[in-house]
């Protein structure tokens, strides 16, 4: 099964957009997940609800919001344009859409992972003189590694399959924003594109299955570790 050049370009672009999107999402997701797992504050349910919005909203709505905010005439977009960092209708915009759509999955997976780490271990580390950063990077994060990997796999799959927000925000520009799902949609809509659509469908299914397997393996073997060895 050989992909045509435009299909290969769409596949490569999807990888780039998904990887960059998930990488950009990760630090923010880690911070938000930690806040949800380890702190109490006023308005926490509302905060959590806002974080999960991209999971619930129609992707087209998310894409339109991104367009309003980051488009050429958007609140932030005009500043980015002025600074020469325009992201609308560019692959970076597609990566932003992927990041936003993958973000809730990362937060949910990381929150569960952090909550599964026994706080007694963190307390023990504190009595050994460790500050919050050392406890987080030395104890909490390594013990959440399986949940983190599972979250990354699911988030990557979600970003890879992203369609609605991307096409609304950055349209379909070959080599720039035409990711695999958009290329697939266009092949389906084009007479004679069935074989190409089938090839891309197969690729998308393989990638989704691999991501899903990784996540399942991690979550299956992870669970709550023996906290007090």
């Amino acid at each position: 099964m050989l992909l045509t050049h435009p299909e290969a370009v769409a596949l490569a672009l999807s990888f780039k957009v998904s990887l960059v999107g998930v990488a950009c999402s990760l630090p923010v997701a880690v911070g938000c997940a930690w806040l949800l797992a380890r702190t109490r504050f006023f308005g926490k349910p509302v905060f959590e609800g806002v974080l999960l919005l991209p999971l619930i909203l129609p992707p087209v709505v998310t894409g339109y919001v991104l367009l309003i905010v980051f488009g050429h005439h958007g609140t932030i977009g005009r500043w980015l344009d002025a600074a020469g960092l325009s992201i609308a209708f560019r692959w970076t915009g597609a990566a932003l859409a992927a990041a936003v759509m993958a973000f809730p999955l990362l937060v949910v997976a990381l929150r569960n992972a952090f909550e599964s780490v026994d706080r007694k271990l963190e307390n023990a580390a504190a009595t050994l003189g460790a500050g919050p950063w050392r406890i987080f990077f030395g104890i909490t994060l390594p013990l959440s590694a399986r949940g983190l990997v599972a979250g990354l796999a699911l988030a990557f799959a979600r970003a890879f399959g992203e369609f609605g927000a991307t096409i609304t925000f950055v349209s379909s520009i070959p080599g720039q924003t035409r990711t695999l799902p958009i290329a697939l949609y266009e092949l389906i809509s084009t007479p004679g594109g069935e074989s190409g659509a089938l090839r891309l469908t197969l690729v998308a299914v393989i990638i989704a299955v691999i991501a899903s397997l990784i996540a399942a393996l991690m979550l299956l073997r992870g669970g709550t570790r023996e906290a007090d060895a």
Binding site: A125, T127, G129
Partner: protein, 235 residues
């Protein structure tokens, strides 16, 4: 010198404890649920008393009136938890080194490893150790913190007889080898007699008596039941 004057609430349970002991090794003795471990956690900074003062050798760790409440990381205490709490993803060596001050000499590490006979399993993970070995690593990790005081929470609990004897022997060695202030939580009279100089008897969150270990031993013997049976009766 160990100064404890604290009041704290955990759900329905209320703890009001006030004592001052010049002993180098003080045991908090009493039945399960009397407030021993809560007291130890308050000293470690993991529970916040409602009021009072906690000081060791004149160094205040908590003083509500003076607005002092050092975080656990700054209390410089070596805590050996009843459940050990070794970090499961780190090797024994890394567990031991976790709390070591950066300026600590390697010789110190070697001494503690030698004293507690840990050298054979430094590369192992906690999940590969026996109960007695886990407890010894926890003790070593606390010692290598170079603390101003050692807090031991039921260090022999849930160990089978051989492991118990093994850990007790090492703790006896530490008592003679180190000049650290030690606070021991226990409901086992033989453990208290072996390791403490002075005993605070705690009942229902209150101090019932503060006595020397000799007086404690006599009263235990006078009760006419073997030490272990007595422990069961009180525990």
């Amino acid at each position: 010198m160990i100064e404890l004057d604290l009041a704290l609430q955990r759900g329905e349970f209320s703890l009001e404890l006030s004592l001052c002991s010049p002993a180098r090794a003080l045991a908090l003795f009493g039945p399960s649920g009397c407030g021993k471990t809560s007291t130890l956690l308050a000293i470690a900074g993991l529970l916040r008393p409602r009021r009072g003062r906690i000081a060791i050798d004149g160094h205040a760790l908590f003083d509500a009136d003076a607005n002092i409440d050092l975080p656990p990381a700054q209390r410089n205490l070596g805590v050996v938890f009843q459940d050990a709490r070794l970090f499961p993803h780190l090797s024994v060596r890394d567990n031991l080194r976790y709390g070591m001050p950066r300026t600590a000499a390697g010789q110190n590490f070697d001494d503690v490893v030698h004293l507690l006979e840990l050298s054979a399993f430094l590369k192992r993970k906690p999940g590969q150790l026996s109960g007695g070995q886990i407890r010894r690593v926890a003790i070593g990790r606390a010692l290598l913190r170079q603390p101003q005081a050692l807090l031991l929470d039921e260090p022999l609990a849930n160990l089978h007889r051989e492991a118990r004897a093994e850990v007790l022997e090492h703790l006896r060695g530490l008592k003679h080898g180190f000049t650290l202030s030690t606070i021991l939580v226990s409901h086992q009279p033989d453990e208290v007699i072996a390791l403490a100089d002075s005993v605070a008897l705690i009942e229902d969150g209150r101090l019932a008596a503060l006595q020397s270990v000799a007086a404690f031993e006599s009263s235990t013997a006078a009760s006419g039941v073997p030490v272990a049976a007595n422990a069961r009766a009180t525990g």
